[in-house]
Amino acid sequence: MSSEPRLLHILRCVVRYHAQDAGFAAEDADGLSMAVDEAASNVIRHTYGNRRDGRLTLEVWTYPDRLEFTLEDWGPKVRPETLQPRPLAEIRPGGLGTYFMKCFMDAISYDEDFAGGNRLRLVKYLSPKGSTCDEGAGPERK
């Protein structure tokens, strides 16, 4: 898809469909769709600087124990350490997207070997692995 914010609702529908198809409850599927929406929004805002002619690719991989989402873009390389959620006690606009991604996913990492731009991998296990919903570090580099 293009980096057009108008298309984000389609991305959410796709994620919700695959999540429910994989066996996630509706509430969990909503959380996963929000996490992917936040990841794509980050790409549109920060990687493409709100340009609408960038390209994003979402792949959904279904495994017996988990669902994996791979979001690729062709923008400048992201430094994962710059994607830290803001401390929740520091109340100001912004800085919550990465936090919500962590809340709804079990693992988030960047693939350093991806030559195109950035490849973000988001993983959610069907069995609860414990919440990653805290204010700690952002995505890992792998």
Partner: protein, 120 residues
């Protein structure tokens, strides 16, 4: 998302319906900033018709709260559905905003709400 503004007895109400995301949140932001800078002493956002809100929508509401401090406007939310309430709870913002169950309660209590003073 649809954003409509109406004036009630003692407050301006911004009715939102649909999904608030990176695409639609600028429309809410525009309405919020305009009303905060207008004549109304009390501004309420009705989220009853909102089925989805992401971090850009939350950021817009926090920006409204910031501006309400600067303009001495009282600012509140009402009609939160479970998804919007969950997102606010995750972000630990339910005690930051003046949140009312419905329009009747919001109109009755907004004038006596203490402005929040803990913004960064």
């Amino acid at each position: 998302m649809k954003v409509q503004v109406r004036n009630e007895s003692n407050a301006t109400i911004i009715d939102c319906a649909g999904e608030i995301d990176l695409y639609s949140s600028p429309a809410l932001r525009e309405a919020l900033l305009r009303e905060m800078r207008g004549a109304s002493a009390n501004v309420l956002v009705n989220l009853n018709g909102v089925s989805y809100i992401d971090s850009s929508g939350i950021a817009t509401l926090v920006e409204g709260l910031q501006l309400s401090q600067r303009t001495q406007t009282r600012f509140g939310l009402f009609g939160l559905r479970s998804n919007a309430r969950s997102v606010l709870e995750l972000a630990r913002l339910t005690k930051v905003f003046a949140v009312f169950e419905n329009e009747q309660e919001a109109l009755a209590k907004i004038a006596s709400t203490q402005p929040f003073s803990g913004l960064a």
